[in-house]
Symmetry: C2
Subunit: 216 residues, 2 copies
Amino acid sequence: MTPMKEDYLKIIFELGGVQKKISNKQIALGLGVAAGSVTEMIAKLVAEKLVIHEPYAGISLTKQGLRFATQLVRKHRLWESFLVQKLNYGLQDVHPEAELLEHETSQRLANALDTFLEHPKYCPHGGVIPDSDGKYNDISHLSLADVKDDEKVTVERFIDNHELLVYLSGTGLHINDKIKGLHHDPFEGPIQVIRMIDQAKIDISYKAAHNIFVHY
Amino acid sequence: MTPMKEDYLKIIFELGGVQKKISNKQIALGLGVAAGSVTEMIAKLVAEKLVIHEPYAGISLTKQGLRFATQLVRKHRLWESFLVQKLNYGLQDVHPEAELLEHETSQRLANALDTFLEHPKYCPHGGVIPDSDGKYNDISHLSLADVKDDEKVTVERFIDNHELLVYLSGTGLHINDKIKGLHHDPFEGPIQVIRMIDQAKIDISYKAAHNIFVHY
DNA sequence: ATTAAGAGTTCGGACTGCCTAAAATTTATT
DNA sequence: AATAAATTTTAGGCAGTCCGAACTCTTAAT
């Protein structure tokens, strides 16, 4: 296993490669490599029985590939939790560090970190941390953009994207805030919400709202 | 900079490449690579002005190469400290984990870790942790093997070697123990010492004694 | 001083993972 | 259904780092 192979498995997982077949292009875009490189690497992962590849149709994870991928997600999110909780990193700064550390993290280290952090369930931007067996409860996929006016919801998760997190740290919206939809501006304009606890009105851009997940 | 280049710089440093010229063979042995690979990599490091190479004579670090090397040692030892202090690793288990993590550790992360650990001066086996400017006070090179009978010394540092540390954890000898030399068996036999605090008699093998450093 | 051993260097070859360009296949449009 | 567009695969190359073998240089021993 190499860091790049791990990255391929992880992105296939993140693109939904557990059920769906993922396209070559999605992977190439996600990793920033050429399409030819993807085909080549996928062939290696097929040989290791980590993915299934139907030429021209798509790629998906085997059970074994899924195991690797969830462990990687676990390591990534444990490191993010560590960086925020213990080293006082800002939400928006943890991703690149975790991206590197996850590849050099043994099972033992992951478990020790998990214990040290007292078995966190969620990473700092709300993603579920799989347990050491790779189990995890999937989460809502209700985006803030789909919340109707006057509905009350709780902020659950942000997509782990630097620009988004920087933007959100400006708005003051946080994970676990209870909010109420107030108003959708037309033409992909901002969405206004009100935070229940302090009645603060917060504007969220249309695009950001699609990357914020909530639950009732 | 790649992990392997970093490993080359670090081992040159550890073999004493700040003053002395280090031989190709020492590096090859230390890293477990072929002699030819060393010559080749050294040529690259020369091109980057990180080492000086006099063909057939030896290799030493430039000022720049030394900076890289000390930062690497700093990261390595900070991780070792973290693993022992926070994650309850045993002394003998930290080296391989730190070996991997050090290469994926940004300056910022090293500093955050240093703060979190409250600026430790020494790593778990007694090595000095260089500060963020790469400064560090060099340590004694008086090995336990050279201590005369009846001299009282303090255990300062163990060489960071798995087998040695496993062996030592069996003997019960620890960093900062104050001990007195008792008896040198002839023919490279064990060295007996007595721990002042509890008068425990401890036998240390001849070879191990050469890898334990003490000060008065 | 010569020679043999040891150490260092050079060279050709391998492997990984990337790229670009060309060819093949699928999908979409007319 | 035919063609155009998009996607995927194939093929040939490049860079990094490794190896082993052959050659060169230094050192130690005769």
